[in-house]
Amino acid sequence: MRGRGMRTAVFRLLVLVGLVAIWEAGTWAADNPFFPRPSTIVVRMHELWFSGPPTALFLTEGAVADILPSLGRMALGFAGGALGGVVLGLAVGLSARVYDYLDGVLQFLRAIPPPALVTVFLVLFGFGLRMQLAFIMFSIVWPVLLNTADGARSVEPLHLQTCQAFRLSRAERLFRVILPSALPKMFAGLRLALSLSLIVMVFSELLPGTTNGIGFQLTFAYQSFDLPAMWAGIVLLGVLGYLLNELFLVVERRVLAWHHAAQRLVG
């Protein structure tokens, strides 16, 4: 068990180091200002965000001004979107009636490119945080919704019959049976939504009136052709994405322990 874990960790590190080395070599060979070397990017990242005083945990003012608000927006947007997705997904997945009424409209909304709706968002929500949150939620709700609906729809029929035979209440059925059995699929949706929320956060920071954030910094850097700074933003997003995903997997492993254990039954 432990040995296996160590092996993967080492393997993983090797893969990572190898890829960064290839990247460095590739950019060195290409010598294209649009593709700065990873070492340059790291230096720029340090300058931008991590060269602050020890009292601020080495975070610069720029980091506090850009990274924290972004993460805040992302977290709020993710929480709202995920909740909305789960609730709507369960409703649509469980009730034929709700499905019939909502499916068309939801599928319609799902296909709409948010950039085309910026003006509508603007008149509905105004500048700033509210619009950004609405924007993030609107974008990430779909994977959670669809996967939850799928999970709720494919609950083992005998489980439902068991519920019915023992006349479990609606709430018990929902929380003790349907939700747990839909969880594995829901988690697939949530994991998609998590990194999507990072991406959409960047988009939301392009919206009219934004004045800070990683996405803002990133686009500003591109507009002024500060390409290492733009790449610093990209790498930061990548690192954040990676960290958030690891965090997510920890949660998933806990919540879905039964699922993973039952799956390991076979070698």
Partner: protein, 256 residues
């Protein structure tokens, strides 16, 4: 207690796979009775059970429990499904699986836990409470499903081949357990089995169903001197006679 009136069920009506599972079945079970149902594989026993439990809506006829037409699952009913392993919830420990239905019973948590533990003990699984279903053997899973139904203390218990996956010794213990529980709690029990000896040993009455579409071809009152006992009862001449009778009925040589 239970009235089944001209019950019919057709699966997939109108499709090429249309199948008449039950056809004009009549049956009534008295309060406190333990009725055993035997019949050939695929004849429609499980279908009948599902109709009684209100899990499927029969395509014809009606089922009444305590005088009420069954539309939804009647109150105070418990079912042990034939496919026990699928009817357990894999995300819950064994104890939680057993305790879950008790939430309907206005018991507080510790009472529920106690009741679950008690039921598990009665089926010989006192040590398995904290395990998950997939960590149990087939027979143990089946016993968990039985424990779940027992802990619930229903007034009507439906059991679909509940002892199929346990060894002979445990099976006898469980048969006696059912008999005991029935006596204590005035349950009405409908038990499907393929074991003819078992049907005669535990049943007050044995109903034999025909090949599909199922209808009743034999209905035998089991009048054995009580209390029943695995050794003496099975040696009783009436027992031997009855099991031969049931056997003949099942094989299609109806003499009644």
């Amino acid at each position: 207690m239970l009235e089944i009136d001209n019950l019919s069920h057709v699966y997939g009506g109108g499709t090429p796979n249309e199948h008449h599972a039950i056809d004009g079945l009549n049956l009534s079970v008295a309060e406190g009775e333990l009725l055993c149902i035997v019949g050939p594989s695929g004849c429609g026993k499980s279908t009948l059970l599902r109709s009684i439990a209100g899990l499927i809506t029969p395509t014809g006829g009606q089922v009444k429990v305590e005088g009420n037409l069954v539309r939804q699952t009647p109150d105070n009913l418990a079912v042990v499904f034939q496919d026990y392993s699928r009817s357990l919830f894999p995300w819950m420990s064994v104890a939680d699986n057993v305790a879950l239905p008790l939430r309907r019973k206005n018991m507080d948590k510790s009472r529920r836990r106690e009741a679950a533990q008690e039921a598990l003990e009665s089926v010989g699984l006192e040590a398995a409470g904290r395990k998950y279903p997939f960590q149990l053997s087939g027979g143990m899973q089946q016993r968990v499903a039985i424990a779940r139904a027992l802990a619930y203390r229903p007034t009507l218990m439906l059991m679909d081949e509940p002892f199929g996956s346990v060894d002979a010794q445990t099976r006898e213990d469980l048969e006696d357990l059912v008999l005991k529980v029935r006596g204590h709690h005035q349950m009405t029990i409908v038990l499907i089995t393929h074991d003819i000896d078992e049907s005669v040993y535990v049943g007050d009455r044995v109903v034999v169903l025909s090949k599909a579409p199922a209808h009743v071809v034999g209905d035998l009152k089991v009048d054995l001197p009580g209390p029943r006992d695995q050794i003496t009862t099975r040696e009783h001449p009436d027992f031997v006679h009855l099991r031969a009778e049931v056997g003949r009925l099942v094989r299609g040589h109806a003499t009644v």
